[in-house]
Symmetry: C2
Subunit: 567 residues, 2 copies
């Protein structure tokens, strides 16, 4: 700590100087002893100087016995997945009490490499919350990806100096870890002694042991209590995820309560939570409330969003109400229902009426769709096999099934009976690579949907029942330098531009949401089933780490046997 700031803190603690702000008559939630006690909180220079009685401040707020909690921490999330710019999302979530965000900018890195990471760091430097970055470990996610950048250990090394970079982001390549793959282990070693975040869904007991032995410290992929317990026993810190798509909290928390195990090594995260869900139900506060409702004692639940996470990431200045810690504080009048009344960040009260600042993006990051306009003939798909493989969508899930269907042999397959063509077009390097396949269950009729958000490489993905609409939708995405587009009977119905790396809009949440709702409605009108979100479902159809068939710019990939499908 700066020497001048320390002297101010010390003088305030010793009652030689008035505090900047005193929160009088607080009920302090003490995450160290699990007790709640009455005290004043003296704040100076954005930090807590003392928690005691009778402190005087230049400003004083009488809380009248309200509870004060440490600000909440989201242990793992991706800012770029929300389509709004980072500061906008953070500003909204901070009003729910999340004052610290541990983010993995791997979407940005897959498009723009370290420039994308710098964008996230720069955009969030003056946000009304603390934003820490985990360096994306798997860019590209697999050897089957055609993305915008290969992020090696060498490129990461300069970030070790950045105090806002805490460690290595979710290590998805568990086979690479376990087999000792040198490039990946170079990254583990580079961040040795720091925190290495994991991503380890459904590993066998043996694989999970080997994975943990490499020094991985956390995971947020446990979707059942049994799996979470298996992880906790191995020393992994389990981030219980409750976001827009993944709902893991209930099962894990019920198991914790039922077994009565210690919650010290559990935290909360959202991973991906969209603005509309944050506005509707809250952010990490929603995880805490849900855990309390299921039966976790309130202080324990609060700890899972505060000190447990701060300790896990070595954030000694956060996560508790104690001298020297940053004054990130929340007030509530009910420790069970946890209605957030006010939020303080660095001792300043956040103003819910203030519109989030949308910071401008460097121009280069708004020109990342490097692809010439296409014509419909690039979607030609000859059928030469008797019963080709078809990607069957699983409703309300991101996995797909690999099914065989009979089609007539032809020079160019023309979809009918609810089948669609789906294609991925490389968009980073102008290679012209285009992979095409057939899917079942999307069911759009007389049109096509295209997106530059397609995990994790974020090439352009398009689905449709005719080549002309597919080309129209793709060209609309190219014109807007990224976005979502819906084409309908030869015309572009609408386009949501996402020009920031092809992932985010600078138009603000309300504008984005208005357009998105209209496009989703139209897609459903055109035949996309109600239990399929047309854009999100599409954006996961390219992700090669998910079972069972995926479309990539090199063709349809069987992710069980890792081979390409022939038609």
């Amino acid at each position: 700590m700066n020497h001048i700031i320390y002297k101010k803190l010390s003088d305030c603690a010793l009652r030689r100087e008035k505090a900047d702000l005193v929160l009088k008559n607080a009920r302090v939630v003490d995450v160290f002893t699990d007790a709640i006690y009455a005290a004043d909180i003296a704040i100076t220079e954005g930090r807590i100087a003392a928690v005691g009685s009778g402190y005087e401040g230049r400003q004083e707020t009488d809380l009248g016995g309200k509870y004060v909690l440490p600000g909440f921490i989201d242990a793992h999330l991706h800012l770029e997945s929300t389509m709004v710019t980072p500061n906008e999302l953070i500003s909204l979530a901070a009003l729910c009490g999340t004052t610290t965000f541990i983010v993995d900018p791997h979407e940005a890195a897959n498009v723009s490499g370290t420039d994308g990471i710098d964008y996230i760091l720069d955009q969030t430097e003056h946000s009304p919350a603390n934003v820490y970055v985990m360096m994306p470990s798997c860019v590209p996610a697999t050897d089957f990806d055609d993305n915008g950048c290969i992020l090696t250990a060498d490129k990461m090394a300069p970030y070790l100096e950045n105090p806002r970079v805490l460690g290595l982001g979710e290590v998805m390549n568990s086979p690479g870890v376990i087999s000792g793959e040198p490039g990946l282990h170079a990254k583990l070693e580079l961040f040795g002694g720091r925190i290495l975040d994991g991503h380890a869904p459904s590993l066998s007991d043996e694989d999970l042991s080997a994975y943990v032995a490499a020094g991985i410290r956390t995971d947020h992929e446990a979707s059942s209590y049994e799996y979470a317990l298996k992880e906790a026993r191995r020393g992994l810190h389990v981030h219980i995820r409750e976001g827009s798509a993944a709902h893991n909290l209930k099962d894990i928390v019920n198991g914790i309560i039922s077994d009565g195990i210690c919650t010290e090594n559990f935290s909360f995260c959202t991973d991906d939570k969209h603005v509309e869900d944050i506005l509707r139900q809250g952010h990490i506060d929603h995880n805490i409330r849900t855990a309390i409702r299921l039966g976790i004692p309130p202080v324990q639940a609060v700890k899972m969003a505060t000190i447990n996470t701060a300790r896990c990431y070595g954030l000694h200045h956060l996560g508790a109400i104690a001298p020297g810690r940053q004054a990130d504080l929340i007030t509530t009048d009910d420790i069970n229902t946890l209605t957030i009344l006010t939020v303080y960040h660095k001792g300043k009260r956040l103003d819910p009426a203030q519109t989030p600042v949308i910071r401008k993006c460097p121009d280069a990051l708004k020109h990342t769709v490097r692809l010439e306009p296409v014509t419909s003939d690039i979607f030609r798909l000859p059928i030469t096999k008797d019963e080709p493989h078809v990607i069957q969508l699983n409703p309300a899930q991101i996995t797909t099934a690999d099914v065989r269907r009979h089609f007539e042999k032809t020079e160019n397959y023309i979809p009918s009976d609810g089948f669609c063509k789906v294609a991925a077009l490389e968009r980073h390097k102008g290679t012209g690579l285009t992979g095409i396949g057939i899917c079942e269950g999307y069911s759009i009729r007389g049109g096509a949907v295209a997106s530059s958000v397609s995990h994790d490489s974020h090439n352009i993905i398009v689905v449709g029942d005719n080549d002309a609409d597919m080309a129209a939708a793709v060209n609309a995405v190219i014109r807007s330098q990224g976005g979502y587009s819906l084409a309908c009977q030869g015309n572009v119905y609408d386009t949501l531009p996402l020009p920031v790396m092809g992932l985010m809009s600078e138009a603000g949440f309300h504008e984005v949401n208005k357009k998105l709702e209209r496009m989703i409605l139209q897609a459903h009108r055109m035949g996309v089933p109600e239990d399929i979100e047309p854009f999100i479902t599409l954006s996961f159809l390219a992700l090669p780490v998910i079972l069972q068939l995926r479309v990539t710019p090199r063709g349809v990939l069987d992710t069980v046997n890792f081979r390409y499908i022939e038609y």
Copy 2:
């Protein structure tokens, strides 16, 4: 972790290779979930590869359902205070299950500076336990000390590179912290982000807040539950001390149980525990047993000696039984009485029959008493005041009282009626500084006791009822280049040489103890009361941080008002 070692661990976890050792049929104490479960523990390359069933090893040991615990950690101790060489103490304590020692070599540093610290590091590098060093923060302890070395931040800086140096040792100078003293704050900043150990007995609420705000993270000086609670609430990790002299455990643990507070932020330490006490009652295992007997649930108590401490010091490879962690393990057949059956360090079973290795000390560190032989006239003490101050010993405590007594004015005071002269002779730099005073309560008749162990500067301290025996005892200590000496009616009764920095013997515990017992017996025969340990009491009479009068080479110091006494 080394890549080749990782591959072996991974192959073992995946059952591709046999383990070096499998502990079959263990009851594993899981400090992450607070549960105990049945499993085999597969160990390879000194690390745990997996905890599961059916693992095969080149060596297998059937535990038949015995409990296996992680090796214990002593959170804070001084190796040099035990008179034996470091490896001897560690070897004995390791057999009690303490496999990790977090040591502060501030005695060695006060005598020999960084050479003393290097000695501790070198001596313990191949000990049968993990030894980590906290850099002594207060060398010298006060501005009133004449010690062997001034340890500045600059001199400490190279130690940041040493992976066995974890942070800054107990910061005793709390006024310096609170007032922002630049030299001290330079040390706090040097170790910023690492662990800063505290030493904060009896601070006011305000002072303690200011002290903690400087980033201090631990304290081991709490002697009551009330004080420990005050520390815990401020975010200090409380090391509960139970050693040879300090007995803080019962009061603190009873309070924890009574209030039902969380024990996550509590650990165990010994601070100073002598070999005879270790042989009689154990080491950290004694702390755990006592806590369990008082009512702490066994797994909680074990955590206070394992994972809590490992986490506090960032020792991610220790403190738990999980893949990748070091195989420091203990077996017991009763989790309540905790009789230690076997201890494994890095997967190797410690052999209780093996005599501890006594490693040789560099020659220079055996020549640290830089003082010419003295004659009895240096102990001349003229009395010019009516009622001079007298140092009154408090039986069984290290504090003293400041009392006034009437003596006749004289050219040289000659003790009688149970009074003694006490003197401190600077021994590091040959300055010839000698401070002399009068004490009450030591009561030796016809002799003198001298010691080169005198906290924290370790000058020569001597107490006696006549100048000739005082000179004889001091000269015996000078001849042996450090040690304890007892002179009796003009002759040296015996000397225990402590030639290693004037603090330690290379003769081994049994030799030291035999001689010490004989000398203590004789001192009591010569009038030293039974409730005063003649050498330890003497060794604390020079420590200027303890109330109320102390003898230093510059004279008798009033440690309340920090001024020297005149006779």
